[in-house]
Symmetry: C2
Subunit: 150 residues, 2 copies
């Protein structure tokens, strides 16, 4: 599975640790930056991740900032991205099963590295449940705000 990962400066160290671990457990990883812990703006990296999901260059994404909040908002601006901010693995599983989430957001200053890894394992292992959830996910892909802009 091709996984893209992006962060801000606050989560730069966690991003590196998780990217290395994902490689070690056999995934293909695209690190979308940043390349250092110099101050950056989380929306820039959230938008890069949303675009990578939209163009198919990644099938899953991991987005990390200090709290996970800012970058999760940025990723979800893209109608192709469904980004779930989580701090424990059950939400990561639900995000896949009910929302067909393709991006997981984590807060590097709030969630420890071991819990982050358990969330990611749950996210990568769970499958979309389909059924009654399909129409809802289709609505997430076609937000009315875009109809006004098309």
């Amino acid at each position: 599975m091709k996984i893209a990962i992006a962060s801000d400066h606050a989560a730069f160290a966690m991003k590196g640790e998780i990217a290395q671990w994902l490689l070690e457990i056999g995934h293909e990883v695209a690190d979308l930056g940043p390349d250092s812990d110099a101050r950056v703006d989380y929306p820039d990296y959230g938008y890069k991740l949303g675009a990578a999901i939209a163009d198919g260059s990644a099938t899953r994404g991991i987005a990390i900032c200090g709290s996970g909040i800012g970058i999760s908002i940025a990723v979800n601006r893209h109608p192709a991205a469904r980004c779930a901010l989580v701090s424990e693995p059950y939400s990561a599983t639900l995000a896949r099963e009910h929302n067909d989430a393709n991006v997981l957001a984590l807060g590097a200053r709030l969630t420890g590295i071991d819990m982050a890894k358990v969330c990611i394992l749950s996210f990568l292992a769970a499958e979309f449940a389909g059924d009654r959830h399909v129409g809802r996910v289709e609505k997430l892909s076609n937000p009315p705000i875009f109809a006004n802009k098309a």
Copy 2:
């Protein structure tokens, strides 16, 4: 402060309880539905809440579904909305201080009513910190995906 609240069927009971409590503690509340616990699609109510923030009819929003994930994705489709999914009050405070979040998302099946209320109190009490966060929030209001659609 005018607060709009929306949910899906899974969070209908919590929505009612929180709306009543917000009235009791002195807020103006707009209940955007649903009006029963019959099955609905969370994106429809998330989009209503995003529109209420965008048109200024509400200055803050509360969005609740089973996990909080689906409705938070829907709300964040609107570039005027900045929706933070939380399960504890520190994240709710950070969402205001760093991200100028105007909508709080909660998971009715994951977060109990007392914790939900504490999260809401922190969200309503905290102020945006401005400073280095201003430019980042402006970027959240101007996502590049809209530039392609304008």
